[in-house]
Each structure stands twice: as structure tokens, then as C-alpha cells.
Amino acid sequence: MRTLLEFEKPIAELEHKLIEMRKLAIENNVDVTATVQSLTEKILELKKETFSNLTRWQRVQLSRHPDRPYTFDYIEKMCEEFIEIHGDRSVADDKAMVGGFGNIDGEFSVMFIGQQKGRNTKQRQYRNFGMPNPEGYRKALRLMKMAEKFNKPIVCLIDTPGAFPGLEAEERGQGEAIARNIRDMFMLKVPVICIIIGEGASGGALGIAVGDRVLMMENTWYSVISPESCSSILWRSWNYKEQAAEALKLTANDMEQNGLIDGIIPEPLGGAHLDPEAAAAKMKAVIKEELKKLCAMDTRARIDARIDKYGKMGVVVE
């Protein structure tokens, strides 16, 4: 059963009507070609209209859609081969942070790293809702250094509601783990591409999101705090999440306009969850194109450009 967001419902209703009509046509042997065609057009129009006028909060809802492709879905669809690598070699294997080597079209061996969410209640708990602990960030860094050692590019897929705010996470140095990743990612000698595929919440996202190219899928968000938490802190109530989402300017379009990301990967009409194959194919094409450009650069020039890019972010008055 598909999960429907409020603004997806009118479209789903029309789609349902279309199916009913086809059924009726077969049962009663009548020609409905003209009506079917007009209805199909109407659906497409409604889809276009709905999805070009989404509010920021609706984008946030789409980014969290339960049917949305997650890290492993993309990896599986993009790679002919994938070998998962586990553990931080110190404390544990964080199930919220996954990674391994994958092969793209026999052209590139890539180290994929990303937060992984679960699809049902049991999986969601197993993956800790995509909220890594410090060992997750340390595992990610271990994999990045391994990629660097074998001179393989890195692709990070970001999808997290935040780094886990738990007791043990604090004991094991959540802040230190994220800080070290951010710093060390700047010095990686191999190309790094980061793609926000769902939620990009704050330091928990940035801990694997420093790269030569930072891209966002069309229906995702990336900011310093979630709209809900922002609402609770600034408005002292959970009820202002829509306003908070507007104020935070957290969509792919906003982030691109503010020069905080390098580009947007378009999704199939209606969102990546409606056609994960097409979403992954588009992502793969973009990764290949960017890797070609990045691999052609001199190593130090690439590192310097990475540092300079972030150096320019910020608006001050002097």
C-alpha cells in the first residue's frame, strides 16, 4: 500500500479513477480512449502544477516519504557489484552508517558511504532511524582513508535527521567524531562527491558532506536544524514547523541560490519514490560526469578549491 502525503491525494484520486475507468471499459466492452487520454493529461497537468508549487514544508515531507529510495537502494541500482565494509575498528559497526566499494559501469570503482534508514519499524530501529553514533562517523572516516589509500573516489549519500543525541554518543565523543571528519575530509587526496538524498540535518549531515561537489536531490532539505526543532526553540512551540521551514530556506533551490551547494539533481515528476530506477539512473549519470571532471584535476588544486569554496560561504558586513 502506497503512503500518500496530503498533497499527493488529489493526484492519487485521479489515478484511481483512471484505473476504474479502464476496468469498466474492459468489463462492458466500451471505447473510452478519449476520456482516458483527457484524464491522463489532466493527471500530468495536476502533477506538474502540484510539484512546481510545493511549499518548503511539503518538500521536507517529500524528503521523508517512507517510500523514498535510501542509500542502499541507490547503490544497488547504480552498481553492478557492491561489497559492503563494516566497523570502525574500535567500538562497533554502526548500522546507521553504511559503506563499501561499488563498481559503476566498469568505469569507476567508488567508495560509497551514507546514512541508512529502515523501511519498517524493525528496520528503522536496527538502523537507528539513520542517526549515526560516533562510531558511525569514525567508520565513515576509516572508509574514506581506505579509499584515499587505494586512490578511489568517494561518493557520500546523505540522509539523516541528525547525529544521534544519546548518552553513549556523548560519552564516545559525538562532537569530536564529526569535527574530525569535517576537517579531515578537506585534506582527502581523492575526489569527493556528496549528495543529499533525503534529509540533511545539521552536523550529523555535514560529518560526511564536505566535498568537491555537494549536490542535492530535488526534493530534499539541508540546514542547520530541522523545522520542528527550530520551531520549538525560536517559537517555543512545535506548531510553527511550516513557518520555520520557510524561514530556514532549506530546500535544494534555496541552498543553490545561496551558493551553499554546487547543484541540484532533478527527480522524476512527483518525487524519487515514484520512480527510483529513473532517480538512480539520473544520479549515476551525474556522478560519472562529475568524476570525470574531478579526476582530471591536480590533487592539490582539488584540495585548495575545496577549501576555498567553503571559505567563501557566509555573509558579513564590514
Binding site: 547525529a163 543525541p165 559525538q174 552536523g203 536544524i225 525560536l234 517559537w235 524561514a247 532549506l250 577549501i307
Partner: protein, 281 residues
């Protein structure tokens, strides 16, 4: 039945009456309640002579404590916030900044300067919690980045004194990227093998902990400082239990291996001088 009943519940002192540093003749320690003469309090680097409580002080106090004869040159003293997102919550952001500027006399939540500490050239950036909770926006990130650049250029140690609630929400994505901007410069400082000391004071949380504050060659803290990534309230809500006593205190963080040592503020200058001296010999 008690003799007196409280008429108003949850009486709270309005912010304008809360002081970071006292200005009367006597100072009452908020921890042990002992009254101390302000001259003595200053002599003890704004720590309590009886219980060692470290009063929350600002950048000016640290500059006075650490730079020889209080001689220093401030960097980017006039830099102030823009409003890249036209951010409005219950107030609009520029109004909030203006009001805070008037109240505190500061331009933003960090000040940076260079000078000498016991004859040793050093660059210091110190945060002011009184400016929107010491939150990090573009100005904080940019000033720290430039202070690090100054250290790099003049090959002198960098001392960062953090006191912050974390990111500045009103600058959203811009605020987040300051974590990356500052860490990038620290990567260069690290590469150049120039010492970086990060002093964490009460409180240091959120995006500041998850970037420059935890990246020191030496991470040190003042006694009793609250240091963490997530704030205590958020953690309590997540785990649904009360937090153990001393959780996220400087001692706790030292015990778990994320601090090199805890230093009393009155010993700070000399201890830092010895440490940096050893690195130079």
C-alpha cells in the same frame, strides 16, 4: 502549612538584570553564595576563592588576562552580521542583532586579536556568550577563519576560547557551513604544524563542539564547564531518563578521553606559556 507562600510561580529574572560580570563592590558567588570583594574576585581571574566557581566572562576579560600588559591588536573589530535569509521568527534578525549590539556593546559573538603572552606571540579568538548565546553565524566563522589565517601567516600559535550554544539558527545553512569553513582553516594550520589550543569554557555545545572546539592539538577546559554535542534537554528527551550527575561536565569529558587537561583560569596564562615553550624548544 508553611508560613510564607509564593504568590507567583516560576519567578524569573528578566535578562536585562542578569549579569555576566558583576559591577558592584561585592560579588556573590552563585555556587557557594560567599560574598567576595570584586577586587579579590578579579585578582583570582573571576573565579571564586572559596569554591573555585568560574564566572562566565567574555572576550575582553580573557584578552586582559592573557595578553601582556593588556596590549593587543584586534582583528576585524568592525565586522558584523548580514541577514542573508531575511530571517523572521518572533522578531526579525537584524532587529535582534541591533538590540544585542546595544545591550552588549559587542559586534558579534567572537573577538579575535594578536599580541604577546609572556613574551610569546600568539593569536587568540574568544567568544562572548552574551551575544545571542555565543551562537555561530557568518561573522563568527569568518573572524575565526581569518584569525587562523593570521596565525598561519605569522607562524604563531592559535588559541581559541569557546563559549557557545552552537549554531545561529537565523543564518541556517550559512551557519552550518561555518563549521566547515573554520575546520578547513584548521586543517591548513595542522598541515603547517602550528600549535592550536582549544579552550572549552562553560558552556560549549552543538556545532561549535562538532567543529573547531574539538579540533585542538590540545583540547583543554575550565573546571565545571558543560561540554557536549547535544544539549542535556535533548538527550533527556531522547532517552526518557534523567541524566547521571556530572554528565557532560569537563571532568566527564576528560574521563572519556576527549580533553587533555582541565586548567584553573588563574593558572591558564602560565600553563599555556609552559606548554607552548616546550613545543618550541
Amino acid at each position: 502549612m508553611s508560613w510564607f507562600t509564593r504568590k507567583d510561580k516560576g519567578i524569573q529574572t528578566p535578562t536585562e538584570f542578569k549579569r555576566e560580570a558583576p559591577d558592584g563592590l561585592w560579588y556573590q558567588c552563585p555556587s557557594c553564595k560567599k560574598a567576595i570583594h570584586t577586587r579579590e574576585h578579579r585578582l583570582f581571574a573571576y573565579t571564586c576563592s572559596s569554591c573555585n566557581y568560574h564566572e562566565k566572562i567574555g572576550s575582553q576579560d580573557y584578552f586582559e588576562l592573557l595578553f601582556d600588559q593588556t596590549r593587543y591588536t584586534e582583528l576585524d573589530a568592525l565586522m558584523s552580521s548580514g541577514d542573508p535569509l531575511n530571517f523572521v521568527d518572533t522578531k526579525n534578525y537584524p532587529d535582534r542583532v541591533k538590540a544585542t549590539e546595544l545591550k552588549t556593546g559587542l559586534k558579534d559573538a567572537v573577538r579575535s586579536a594578536y599580541g604577546e603572552m609572556n613574551g610569546l606571540p600568539i593569536t587568540i579568538a574568544a567568544m562572548d556568550f552574551s551575544f545571542i548565546g555565543g551562537s555561530m553565524g557568518s561573522v563568527v566563522g569568518e573572524k575565526i577563519a581569518r584569525a587562523i589565517d593570521y596565525s598561519l601567516e605569522h607562524k604563531q600559535p592559535f588559541l581559541m576560547i569557546s563559549r557557545s550554544g552552537g549554531a545561529r539558527m537565523m543564518e541556517a545553512g550559512f551557519s552550518l557551513m561555518q563549521m566547515a569553513k573554520t575546520s578547513a582553516r584548521l586543517a591548513l594550520l595542522d598541515e603547517a604544524k602550528i600549535p592550536y589550543i582549544s579552550l572549552l569554557t562553560d558552556p560549549t555545545t552543538g556545532g561549535v563542539t562538532a567543529s573547531f572546539a574539538m579540533l585542538g592539538d590540545f583540547n583543554i577546559a575550565e573546571p565545571g564547564a558543560l561540554i557536549g554535542f547535544a544539549g542535556p534537554r535533548v538527550i533527556r528527551e531522547t532517552i526518557g531518563k534523567d541524566l547521571p550527575k556530572g554528565f557532560q561536565s569537563a571532568d566527564f569529558v576528560l574521563e572519556h578521553g576527549f580533553l587533555d587537561f582541565i586548567v584553573d583560569r588563574k593558572d591558564l596564562k602560565d600553563k599555556l606559556t609552559s606548554l607552548l615553550g616546550m613545543l618550541q624548544k
